[in-house]
């Protein structure tokens, strides 16, 4: 992987590096040859790292003041908002930070889908990424329970009840998850414990995600393999770091806009009502980033079927690298797939929208159509289009974007096979 052996200049540096090659790692990270044509859709990896660190730092401070008890949690959040110095700022960064985290991760995932970053030889990066995404959803769900408002309580009730759909042992599993016979204080306690644990698991997976990335190197908008280092690459520092910093700052402006001017717009007003097991809210809705899956869940009239379909919607992504049969990575050169990609984007947005609406009438119809398309896209469209599609000519390298006559998929295949 390393291009040339790094030797520290100072004696102390050499002594340390011989025992733990941290300086070599640092040199690898700064020199890391990166395709020079990465566009701004590639800046979300850095943005996501920022989001994770922000959530961990603000979360640790919040945990110093929060009380994980059914009778005290709601009051302790108000204590943070009113009495803790800048408590309101820390909490609003944390709660909006979760939304910003998901916004960034969705862009990151769709970028991968558009440019074929999940394809060989990057399947492991993709799968680790999906594991991070799954953990993010678990962490976000449990975090939303902690303020112990109405949506916290009823959201927890709805989601944990999904497990009761499992035949034979479902009820036992649900009781085990709750630590009680309903969502109650023991549930809140364990959710807090897990909510604190998961971000560190994510952090570990992020390290693996980046490690796995640094083996083949970055994909790029053209989607072809490039020689590293070469005319087609730039060192990660300063070229990519400064570009990531610029994109991160733009992202932070939007983030700050939410935190300071509409801190509650992404939350549900019912969560400022203390949890009450005797009063069910008119509409129980999860946070916006889980809505597409909620729509899939509710589109099936059968509970077990809905649960299976909802989990399948995520797990189908794990086999995506093998469902996609196209030899060409980037959708830039795939005129047919490109159209389907945008249909998928619209489909997921629509599912998210109907997930927030009552499951009746036109919304139920849209949810069902959307669910069917979602699965068709991965099971039918991706394999079939991959075989049938006539892709556009592909450049030989990033530096020579001139389309070589009659290159077509055959050349692309040759380029791909060189790895």
């Amino acid at each position: 992987m390393s291009e040339h052996e790094y030797v520290p200049k100072s004696k102390a540096g050499k002594w340390f590096n011989d025992r733990l090659p941290l300086l070599t790692l640092g040199a690898h990270l700064t020199d890391y040859p990166t395709p020079k044509n990465l566009n701004y859709w590639w800046t979300f990896g850095g943005i996501l790292t920022f989001c994770l660190i922000t959530q961990i730092v603000t979360g640790i401070v919040l945990a110093m003041h929060y009380v994980a008890h059914a009778d005290l949690a709601f009051a302790s959040v108000e204590h943070i908002m009113r009495d803790v110095n800048y408590g309101w700022l820390i909490r609003y960064i944390h709660s909006n930070g979760a939304s910003m985290f998901f916004l960034a991760v969705y862009i990151h995932i769709f970028r991968s889908l558009f440019y074929g970053s999940y394809k060989s030889p990057r399947e492991v990066i993709w799968i680790i990424g999906l594991m991070i995404y799954l953990l993010m959803m678990a962490a976000a769900f449990m975090g939303y329970v902690l303020p112990w408002g109405q949506m916290s309580f009823w959201g927890a009730t709805v989601i944990t009840n999904l497990f009761s759909a499992i035949p034979l042992v479902g009820d036992s599993i649900t009781t085990w998850l709750w630590g009680a016979y309903s969502v109650d204080n023991p549930t809140l306690n364990r959710f807090f414990s897990l909510h604190y644990l998961i971000p560190f698991l994510i952090l570990g997976l992020v390290v693996l995600h980046i490690w796995a990335l640094h083996v083949p190197g970055n994909n790029n908008p053209v989607g072809i393999d490039i020689k590293k280092p070469s005319k087609d690459t730039v060192p990660f520092h300063p070229y990519i770091t400064i570009k990531d910093a610029f994109a991160l700052l733009v992202f932070m402006i939007i983030f700050a806009g939410f935190v300071f001017f509409t801190p509650n717009v992404l939350g549900h007003s019912d969560n400022y009502i203390p949890a009450n097991p005797l009063v069910t809210p008119a509409h129980i809705v999860p946070e916006w980033y889980l809505l597409p899956f909620y729509a899939i869940l509710r589109s099936v009239p059968d509970k077990l079927g809905g649960v299976i379909l909802m989990f399948s919607a995520i797990f189908i992504l794990f086999v995506l690298p093998w469902l996609d049969t196209s030899k060409v990575r980037s959708a830039v050169f795939r005129p047919i797939y490109r159209q389907f990609f945008w249909i998928l984007v619209i489909d997921v947005l629509m599912l998210g929208y109907v997930g927030a609406m009552p499951a009746e009438g036109i919304y139920l119809v849209l949810a069902r159509v959307g669910t069917i398309y979602y699965f068709l896209h991965f099971i039918v469209v991706m394999p079939v289009v991959g075989y049938l599609e006539k892709t556009d000519p592909i450049p030989m390298s990033i530096s020579e974007p001139v389309l070589t006559g009659g290159a077509e998929p055959s050349i692309a295949r040759k380029v791909n096979d060189k790895v």
Binding site: W88, L89, Y92, L249, D270, L349, I362
Partner: protein
């Protein structure tokens, strides 16, 4: 990301938004009030907050608690900003239960600024029982806990009407066009001239509703003014930094033949 694709995206969203009115709407949309605390630099109207506290104290507080507020909050910056003497006097006008003392007995004493607002009922059950089975919600975060926020609270306060023909209401249930299902168990407590404002403002129903809603908006978000102020500074700082980083990026990338 071609133009036609973006068009398609926008179109499908418009379609979804157009579908929205198909939802059954039983209650009227809240009245839109031009609150002084709206907008990026919005602040509370100090006089209105003080009047609103008076309305709360003299009207609402007999049923609604505000358990997360302390009397000291009334004197803090960004709030009604009563003077230290006034805050002490307000707190002292309440008898607060304290204890146990060295004999193990509970006792009452005049309130201090550090005390939480005294609740009208000892617990939720007592409050529910005393109000015909409807718990008067704690108002500390009420504005954040209702869709529509301040506009909604104000609308409900001025939204009492005689029920339209054909609508029969049980005893202790009132008609309110902004309430979900148009039924509310809180009677219309505001009438012109109900409180005598210390600053001489005429206490019309509309005035009192606006004042008390302003007060509740502050109670729910006591940090609002500081948040707005800090936010403006943070965003200006970020924009300047972004410009500097952008220029640095352009400079650094000028060595490469690729555009950023």
């Amino acid at each position: 990301m071609t133009k036609s694709n973006i068009k398609l995206l926008v179109l499908s969203f418009l379609l979804l938004i157009l579908l929205r009115p198909l939802q059954s709407a039983e209650m009227a949309d809240p009245i839109k009030v031009n609150w002084s605390f709206k907008g990026l630099t919005g602040t509370f109207d100090r006089a209105s907050l003080q009047r609103g506290f008076q309305v709360y104290k003299e009207v609402c507080a007999s049923c609604h608690s505000m358990q997360y507020l302390s009397y000291r909050n009334l004197g803090e910056p960004g709030g009604p900003e009563f003077s230290e003497q006034e805050v002490k006097a307000i707190a002292a006008s309440f008898e607060i239960e304290d204890g146990p003392d060295s004999q193990g007995e509970m006792f009452t004493r005049p309130g201090k600024p550090s005390d939480k607002f005294k609740s009208p009922y000892p617990n939720v059950q007592a409050a529910t029982a005393a109000n015909g089975g409807a718990y008067p919600p704690d108002m500390s975060v009420l504005v954040k806990a209702r869709k529509g926020g301040a506009n909604y609270i104000y609308s409900v306060l001025v939204g009492y009407e005689d029920p339209p023909p054909g609508v029969n209401l049980d005893d202790g249930v009132y008609y309110n066009k902004y309430m979900a299902g148009n039924k509310i168990k809180m009677p219309n407590n505001l009438m012109d001239g109900l409180v005598e404002y210390a600053d001489g403002t005429e206490s019309t129903v509309d005035q009192m509703a606006k004042d008390v809603t302003t007060f509740l908006a502050w109670a729910a978000e006591p940090e609002l003014e500081e948040r707005h102020r800090t936010g403006v500074k943070v965003i200006i700082y970020l924009i300047l930094l972004t410009i500097l980083v952008y220029l640095s990026m352009k400079k650094i990338w000028s060595r490469i033949d690729t555009e950023v």
